[in-house]
Amino acid sequence: MLGKKQDLIDQKLQDLNNDGVDRRGFLKCMAWAGTGLVWTLSGGIPVSRAFAKSHDRSAGKGADFSFVQISDSHIGFNKPANPDVTATLQTAINKINAMPHKPDFIIHTGDLSQLSKPSEFDTLDQVLRGASAKQIYFVPGEHDMLTDNGEQYLKRYGKGTKGTGWSSFDHKGVHFVGLVNVANLKAGGMGSLGHEQLEWLEDDLKGRSASTPIVLYAHIPLWNIYPDWGWGTDDSEQALSYVKRFGSVTVLNGHIHQIMQKIEGKVSFHTAMSTAFPQPAPGTAPSAGPMKVPADQLQRVLGITDVNYLVSGRSLAVVDSPLGDLGSSAPGDGGPGGS
């Protein structure tokens, strides 16, 4: 049985290589290959459905590595939408530690703290120390720049970064770029990368082979989801023009505390759930901000994002998982039951 599955996976990955980078085809293949991705097309846009059981990657030959994105932990927040954000962050870390496949590292896409307080950063560090993945990359959110233009954040998490905290690194053939779009914000504007960072980015990407998979990560979405609520980045067009030539680009963001996705050519955009509290869908409330849900649903609207890189297809598969299942007040353990 396993052998047949292997053959199917190999066949599908072979098809993928023959087809070139065809994301829609790739997604269909992934569903059949049984690596646990459940994708449906909704209005022409692929949507990942969270599944309760973590997929077993041992059957997924060709899967090279994975990493996890967490976001918006807001340590220090204590209002009704979630009186204990430290506990829900701990749940997220427990869930990551319990994954059958170990992620190579974790990326935190910002709003580590609620008020940039040292005690909040301390608490965050304490929880993260319990993660089995020891390498964690960060980019700041606007909540991490509140008191001192991000000086504290940089001191703790800015090692090896430039400017307001941007950096890049390579991992097993994939090029990762962490961008900061929450500094020096202008009145009436949205997120902003700024001239210096854009120059650095252009230079950083220069000369890299177009077959290098690129992962960009930043706090505020790099595409205009809902400008009225500031859910976008004023100068992201320029940044995206630098990655247009690459065969596979994945953009990971946070800030909006809900999953949103968009695929534009070879660039797929994805925003993650928060580990702290959800926010309303665009335009469905007077403003953005913490959204209260019934206590037994909180674990469902908080979550982590598992990203799997498959070397054969040179593509990344993004899977969101809630912290728990419907009706559970305790953290989900990947037990039976679907989403």
Partner: protein
């Protein structure tokens, strides 16, 4: 006219007179000095209310954050800059010179407001 109508008319007239008198007294008050309530901006739902506040020279404006998210009030011309205000925290600034002072929340820059001092 029916008895009902008569009764109603009888009641209405003194009521109308009372209301006219009150209206009169209200308009008299309006011509007096501005009310004693200190000028205030309430922050809620990611917005400053009122978005434009007009005050006399020398007035002290107090911003109060009633939102469940922290905000700031930062002048775009560098005239004033609040610390971050968590829920129920305040910031005050005294405007000693006339003029128009646009400001915004440095954390959520889509939030903008204006203080007009005259």
């Amino acid at each position: 006219m029916t008895r009902k109508n008569v009764w109603f008319a009888g009641l209405a007239t003194p009521l109308m007179i009372t209301m006219l008198l009150l209206a009169g007294s209200t308009s008299v008050t309006a011509n007096d000095q501005p009310s004693a309530a200190p000028p205030a901006v309430k922050i809620d739902n990611f917005s400053f209310g009122p978005q434009t506040l007009t005050v006399p020279v020398g007035a002290t404006v107090t911003w109060t954050n009633s939102d469940d998210i922290p905000h700031t009030a930062v002048s775009t011309e560098g005239v004033f800059k609040s610390k971050v205000m968590d829920t129920d925290e305040k910031f005050s600034y005294t405007f000693t010179k006339g003029g128009t002072y646009p400001y915004f929340c440095s954390v959520h820059p889509k939030m903008t407001g204006k203080v007009v001092v005259q």
